[in-house]
Point group: C2
Chain length 496, copies 2
């Protein structure tokens, strides 16, 4: 290790420790912390976040990073760490501290306003604060925009390097053309599927046992991880030896079953990061989209397939007990693959999911690049749902207010959900050339699939972008065609 890098890294490690502490606070807050703790704990987190900012943007850090580049002779990971840190500095530094703080306060306030507006099903209550957030997002993007770069492209790139409106317009354009008609056909066909056994009452302990069994079966390592309960399932990690997932119970059992498989997909990514990268700024999944790729690959492509369930369905059905243990595998598979265009993204089936995301992409683009007035949004939203999904929200809570993201200032984030699914399909088609995935699943050899992903994707963390990984692994740049082909094959008319 070069001398300059060693000194530099001592400072970086302080930032990493603060970040890890903030991750733990967030985990604790979502899973365990007592109700009344929040305002007090928030103050402490605010201080940690401020200390993080101070360390990362200090003159010392800038000098040390520059010294590393000048001294040269950095290893691949070292160079990537310097690059990551300098990007982080730029991201934090381009916003004047005053505006940064004001925006943090605004989003803190917005969370409550959004929740109240949603409860009261009244978007207009949220509209003014959303307007302010959009203005900040545009302003912040303008600080970071390179010459001639569009503002929404700046935001998109911050979640998914190398992706911009041009790529995404093409991507969603193809999806719209192919999926909208496919969805309507498929929905008609699967209208009468029996799903009643998914809503039956099962003992909580059975649900917990099934969740634990499935997580372990898919590959979650309980020596390096925790499974807990939270209102909305999520994955987080302190490092590659401490990765945590959550689920929730008490809804339809497929909600917990597939959320566990989904979060295990996320977890495998973080567990697979190389030991020399973990706890460094490059020791995380490379992007939001590549993360969703892993989770949705396991949840949908693997987890809703017949081959996956063949060796374990009887065990799972036994754990749940009646009525599931009376339901044949085919009935179960039909139920968990039912296509019903609905209003809520997080409850969407595999086929309609990308269309939910497309609505949000189109609206974000209008807000950041156009001059659409905030007040019109509910009507725009509802029309798009009618057009693409054939359903119309009856109120704002099941329409434009359903997601928390915008209240947190996350613009440019949604597209990654759909991109992740498309990445997954592209890897899937490629992997099928190298291994017989269905046979492996039928034999319960998920380790072969896991190891492939670890070797080709997981281990690298942020050393490679999602687009680079796609190219290197599949030999081809990102292409939506595999995703469309996958969905057509799975949900199209079977006479083909």
């Amino acid at each position: 290790m070069s001398k300059a890098f060693e000194t530099f890294y001592q400072s970086v490690e302080k930032g990493m420790a603060l970040q890890t502490a903030m991750v733990l606070f967030e985990w604790d807050n979502e899973t365990l912390a007592p109700k009344e703790a929040e305002p007090y704990t928030t103050r402490m987190i605010g201080s940690l976040s401020e200390q993080y900012r101070e360390i990362m943007t200090s003159e010392e850090m800038k000098k040390l990073a520059a010294a590393c580049r000048e001294e040269g002779g950095l290893s691949g990971p070292e160079a990537a760490i310097v690059r990551e840190v300098e990007e982080e500095i730029e991201k934090l530094d381009c916003i004047p501290p005053r505006e940064y703080r004001d925006f943090a306060e605004l989003t803190a306030r917005a969370a409550g306003i959004w929740a109240e507006a949603k409860r009261e099903k009244d978007f207009q209550k949220f509209a003014p604060v959303l307007g302010e957030i959009v203005n900040y997002q545009k302003k912040f993007a303008s600080y970071r925009a390179k010459e001639g770069q569009k503002l929404y492209d700046v935001l998109l790139d911050s979640y998914e390097k190398g992706f911009n409106m041009e790529t995404l317009d093409a991507f969603f354009g193809e999806l719209k053309e192919e999926l909208v008609p496919l969805l309507h056909e498929a929905a008609e066909r699967s209208g009468n599927v029996d799903t009643s056994f998914l809503s039956a009452e099962y003992p909580l302990t059975a649900q917990e046992d099934a969740a634990r069994f499935l997580a372990e079966y898919v590959g979650f390592d309980f020596g390096k991880g925790v499974l807990a309960v939270s209102a909305h399932p999520f994955t987080t990690n302190l490092h590659n030896h401490d990765v945590r997932i959550t689920t929730h119970y008490g809804q339809r059992i497929d909600s917990s079953i597939f959320s566990v498989i989904h979060e295990t997909g996320h977890a495998l990514y973080e567990l697979g990061i190389r030991d020399d990268l973990t706890q460094t700024p490059v020791g995380q999944g490379t992007s939001m989209g590549m993360h969703e790729c892993q989770s949705r690959f396991f949840e949908n492509i693997i987890g809703r397939s017949r081959a996956f369930w063949e060796p374990v369905y009887d065990t799972i059905a036994e754990i749940f007990g009646a009525p599931l243990n009376q339901v044949p595998l085919d009935t179960f598979l039909a139920a968990v693959n039912q296509t019903v265009p609905g209003l809520i993204r997080t409850e969407a089936d595999e086929l309609s999911y990308a269309l939910h995301v497309m609505v949000r992409y189109e609206i974000e683009k209008m807000l950041i690049e156009g001059d659409t007035s905030i007040e019109e949004l509910p009507e725009i939203w509802n029309k798009k749902y009618e057009e693409y999904l054939g359903v119309r929200p009856q109120n704002d809570a099941e329409g434009i207010l359903q997601d928390i993201h915008w209240s947190q200032g996350s613009f440019g984030y949604f597209p990654s959900y759909a991109l992740g699914s498309a990445f997954g399909a592209q890897f899937y088609f490629h992997m099928k050339k190298e291994m017989d995935i269905d046979s492996l699943l039928r034999e319960g050899k998920l380790d072969v699939i896991r190891n492939y992903l670890k070797e080709h994707i997981h281990q690298y963390g942020k050393l490679k972008t999602s687009r680079e990984l796609l190219k290197e692994v599949t030999g081809e740049d990102f292409s939506p065609k595999y995703y469309i082909a996958y969905l057509k094959e799975k949900y199209g008319k079977k006479e083909r």
Copy 2:
């Protein structure tokens, strides 16, 4: 708030945030973190701890604290915060950073060596590293000693301000004289008590329900707290709106019952700290001894009394089910008040507890002030147990290796366990003049007792020392006589 104090406090708050983060990591580690996470997470905690040290001992912090004192006009809490911070600076600063780090590494290593020696029941394996720890403790104490101050007095004072060997020699001297004969009498009398129902098997959910019920009954506020499971019960807190206790199940049920009451006693202290003090350096219980006073007061004086159990015993017995629900209250009370001099401090009954502590006090004094050789310790320990408790360890694991404290470098800490019990008795005698505690307990009015403690003790945090609190509340300096009187009354021959 003075300008100087405001600036000063901005720096202090950074330190508080780092400390709170370390508390959360420790909690998480004891209750939830996956097995393999530790070495990785430890690295992050090490960095947080280093950052804490840097902030607290920075030139800026010293100047700001001095500026506060010079500007004057500080409120009581403000002055106390400045004093606390300056003490902390002195504590951190008097040790050269190199020695500080070496000692941290030594104790990290010692933990493993102690655990292995205990497993192998072989003190001599631990002896060399214990020798090193003792030398560091003496050296560190010498850095802090005021002119003519004895080294062990420095250590004692750091856990319990205003207490030194003179006070403690007198205290333990009286205990020895009075309790040793009393213990032998009481043990003879309670030899044939039936305790079998405490070791019976009860469903885990029943044990959990009982623990939750009892915590709440004693006054634990689940809106501001969490009850979890760990190997050894403990209490921790992020601030006065987030106080967490643990228990363990699967041993004799009185272990979980009384550990929950004990930890709730600790928790009430932290929950009772004033809102303007929490999250500041004075927003914690004032000392180890005053903390043990609260926990042991609830566990023993309140929690093992007939009056406490009268209104709730039937409910608890119902929650546990058979065989407890067949056991009359008097049988239960006799069992949980049984006196059996044993080898293990943490399993000791109320009467013999202080004698366990006395053995440790005497040995610590010999080690720090005398020139006792480490190798002789097991024999010294065993002889003292024989003399005071009438039992002799058969091996080092149930003798000198039983406690973790010395491996962590905690010397001067043990006496506070016994002091806490004595403080509790002194408060108890005084409180009985102001309220009819037994009647309150029989009517389930624990809130009156809680509120008294909150008003007179809890709320002040570190604004007053334990000795000051004793004087102000009971009108009298610390005196062991109440503790002895309490134990004599409870465990002495009943014909008096």
